[in-house]
Structure formats: structure tokens, C-alpha cells
Amino acid sequence: MEPYLFYVMAATSVVASLYLIFEKNPVFCALYMVFSFINIAVLYVLLEAQFIAAVQVIVYTGAIMVLFLFVIMLLMVNVEQKQKDDLPFQRIPAMILGFVLLVVMGLTIKSKIFQGKEGEYTSAKVESIGHTQLIGKLLFTDYLLPFEMTSILLFVAVIGAIILAKRKV
């Protein structure tokens, strides 16, 4: 069951991402992006990261997609208006370079340099503590400083967004 689920989700997320970069209408682009991200959330569940999967769905479909759609509709990006491409010759080299990048990354993965020390949190142990409890415990012990920095970052982002987007008074 699990291998099939992986292949189906991987294939749909790749296809949705391809649609994202070739689709002309930005509203559909946002929806394809979210479709791809939900497939990735299913892969997180397969990787026993249930909390991350839930956060992925909440943050990306609940917050970021709505934000994108709001901006697209606010700016009324015209769908019918043919976007004139000033650099049409850039498309083919971009795809070739993207493929080269993929090949280089594939060779790196194949070279088996990704060996690491095994950690202590095996599936059984995570299961016994509870995944979300474990993340909560780590956030308030080992990762307390980054966690507090994150709150400052979000605060600064909110203020920055308001100042950037507000009209001159």
C-alpha cells in the first residue's frame, strides 16, 4: 500500500508543479501550487511527520493560498491580456539548465554521501511519546531561542507588510 501511495502522490505533485509553471492564468497557478503542496503533505504523513503535515495544510492552503488569491484578485491581473515576452529565447536554455541541475542533484544523491549518525527517535519511541507532544517538548527546551526569534520575525513581518502596502497618508 505504502509504495503505491508514494508513487501516486509523487507523480501528481510533479504534474501539478509542471502545470504551475506552464499555466497562463495566475489563479489556476495558485490552485495547482496548493494541489502540489497537499500531495507533499500526504508524503509527510507517510514519513510519520503528522504534525508537519497538518501545519503544511493549514499554513499553505489556509494562509498562503488565500493571500495569493487575494493579491491576484486585488491587482486584477488581466487573464485575456497576452503577456508579451521580452525574452522568448530564455525559455529553452532555462529548461536545459534546469535539467542539468536535476542531473547534478541526481548524481549527488547517487554518490551516497548522505550518511549520518542515527538519532535516538525511532518510530516506536516517537509513537510512545506522541509526535506532537515530542515537537512541543523540543520547541520549549532545545529550540527555545529559535522559537522566540520566530515570534519576533513574524511580528516584524506583519509591521513590514503593513508599512509596505499602506497608501501614503
Binding site: P3, F6, A10, S13, V14, S17, L20, P26, C29, A30, M33, S36, I40, L43, Y44, L46, L47, E48, A49, I52, V55, Q56, V59, Y60, A63, I64, L67, F68, L75, V77, Q83, D86, Q90, A94, L97, G98, F99, L101, L102, M105, I109, F114, G116, E118, G119, E120, Y121, T122, S123, L134, I135, L138, L139, L153, V156, A157, V158, A161, A165, R167
Partner: protein, 100 residues
Amino acid sequence: MITLTHYLVLSAILFSIGVVGVLIRRDAIVIFMCIELMLNAVNLSFVAFAHFLHSMEGQMFVFFSMTVAAAEATVGLAIIIAMFRNKDTVNVDNMNIMKW
């Protein structure tokens, strides 16, 4: 059996698609979506490493990188709105006043 390599290859494919999208699109909003796609590809490899190495560090990093992605989306879309106010377009080819 699905191994770490499968997840890393998928992550590499998604990342490359994001890179190509940034290079071929002219619409600032879609370029932004492609950047989000690249961030997600990297998050996927983080979670895969965390799972196969029995560690929690990868998942903590994903948690923080999602926060950064949310903050980045907010500020970036605000910049796009400011850009649209000044130029009446979101096409990145028209944003060339800093070019020599």
C-alpha cells in the same frame, strides 16, 4: 520498499521545476509561487532525512522554515502590491529602473 533515495529524487525534481519556473515566468506572483515550491521541495528532503535517520532535527527545521516562508510570503506580496501601485503592472520585465 520506498527508501530515502526516492524522496530525495522527488525533492530534486520539484526543486528543478521551481528553478525553471522562476527563469521562464514573467509574472512576479507566479515567480513567487515557484519560490514557495522550491522551499517545499527542500522541506520534503528535511523530513525524509529526519525519518530515515530517526532524528527530530529535520522536522524542527521544517517547522522554522515554514514560519520563515509565511513571513516571506506576507512581505513579498506587500512588495508586489507596492510595485503594482507605482508601475501598474506585475511583469518583472518592466521593473528595470535599477538597471544601469
